[in-house]
Symmetry: C2
Subunit: 297 residues, 2 copies
């Protein structure tokens, strides 16, 4: 029991460290027009799990990186995530009104500000990686390349386009897995692998960590679909029920089948983690997160 308390304290200390560093890496007031800076900080610094930087930090710790070595890289992935939420929520995309329990940025500010803030946050992620002098330059170039691949035309952006334009054609679980991987998984894969790479993990371990992250991403998405199908907006902290009529893993397999698929992804993620030689931090963190969320779903 004391071990568990110590574990949660460590997790919370890491999360609080991410929040502090994000506040430092966000543009300060006066550095650009106030309205833009306020919008960026509103969005980036809104309370959140910081899941992507957390898995970066925990993956780095699993492979023995010094404390803090992966902090800026983790924050860069959070910036990319925040950018993708801003852009996905825009009126011309999902037209969402609520995010992380707050009005979406285009409602709290305006659409132009939201677009500039989103693009600025994506761009800032590359600035942060490029400026991370604690890491050797070849690693910085490699991390930037992996982040760009996760965001780009075979990643988040392709996923969002497919979701907007081709969703009707997606009726089988494999196609939905592909969409969900593009929309969520690729960035989690990059965040986890980035942490392992900062720690100098061997290539086979980096590879296995990618498999872990892919399955975790798919499990996450199914969980989100379960929440979306069942929960209230207050509980979710964002708009729900927007997928009504759209194919999801929940609509194709039913809630029971979806829960089973989610559990299978979690089991495969766990296997991959064991293959990579990890034995505590990441599985404890993710396991606890899912235990809480499965209860909610």
């Amino acid at each position: 029991m004391d071990d568990q308390v110590a574990f949660f304290q460590r997790i919370e200390a890491l999360r609080a460290g991410v929040d502090r560093r994000l506040a430092e890496l966000a543009p300060p007031l006066g550095s650009a027009p106030d309205r833009l800076v306020e919008a960026v900080r509103y969005s980036l610094l809104a309370p959140g799990k910081r899941f992507r930087p957390m898995v970066t930090l925990l993956a780095a710790a699993e492979f023995g990186a010094p404390e803090g070595a992966a902090l800026d890289v983790g924050c860069a992935f959070e910036m990319i995530h925040a950018a993708s939420l801003i852009l996905d929520d825009l009126p011309s995309m999902d037209d969402a009104g609520l995010r992380r329990g707050l009005p979406t940025i285009h409602r709290a500010f305006d659409e132009a500000t939201a677009i500039l803030a989103g693009v600025g946050l994506l761009n800032q992620a590359y600035a942060v990686i490029a400026a991370d002098r604690g890491l050797p330059a070849p690693l910085r170039a490699d991390l930037a390349g992996r982040a760009a691949a996760a965001v780009g035309f075979s990643g988040l952006i392709a996923g969002q386009a497919r979701d907007l334009f081709d969703r009707d054609q997606l009726r089988d679980p494999a196609a939905l897995d592909r969409l969900n991987h593009e929309k969520t998984g690729v960035l989690i894969v990059a965040a986890v692998q980035g942490g392992a790479m900062v720690a100098g993990a061997p290539d086979t371990a980096v590879e296995a960590m990618g498999v872990f992250a892919r399955h975790i991403g798919l499990a996450f998405q199914i969980r989100d679909d379960l929440i979306d199908a069942q929960a209230s907006p207050e509980a979710a902290g964002k708009d729900v029920g927007k997928d009504a009529g759209m194919a999801t893993v929940v609509s194709t397999l039913g809630p029971g089948g979806a829960r089973q698929a989610m559990d299978e992804h979690l089991a495969k993620a766990s296997d991959a983690l064991a293959r990579a030689g990890c034995n505590g931090l990441l599985s404890g963190y993710v396991g606890e997160l899912f235990a809480r969320r499965k209860a909610a779903a």
Copy 2:
């Protein structure tokens, strides 16, 4: 005269090489949803001067880089430029209908596609720089950092926000120069300096090339304002008259004063180029470009 013909042929060969490489670096059909890929290619591959990659290539050549060494870096700057045009033209920003003689991307496709294409092109620029194996990794990291600084909260994005929100407060030429530098100059500076850096130019020369580029950028913007105030959309290939009522160098100094300011920037640019030890290609290219444009304005 034969020298001049040979010079123009060399310039045109470089420009055609940029076009070919851009077509290779753009996502191919089938790599992402068709509608997105088509929009990206529509926008990136529309006929253009390729000014930014051209100054990258010419700066690299001035300092003795092997042919083609700076090609991908130059194309990355063109991608950033194309992204900024797409985003600036959006309905929530400048709401432009015409660009490079064609309907803007949000009119030819739709707003969501335009946003994803713009963000995707910005992101692709970082992918291209990170993947440019012909360059040493520290240089790639440095170039990515400089590109990010040019785009970010003290560059293009800040400039666009200032233009949208604070334009009314800008009435003096110094404030307008700052805005124009953020909106145009910073990226030209990064493109020129990037070329010099690929060639291994000494720091003092890279610095002088930045001064050159800054003044060229300001001269360009004044020229654009002159065109906007006077030309027809057909001649400009984009919407004109949109600055009516807004402060520009032309509205504060009058057309004559603006032309004089433009010529002063060109003279300072020329001085900086001489200081950097350049003696032909760049001044020939830029001089010819301005001779043509001044006639149009």
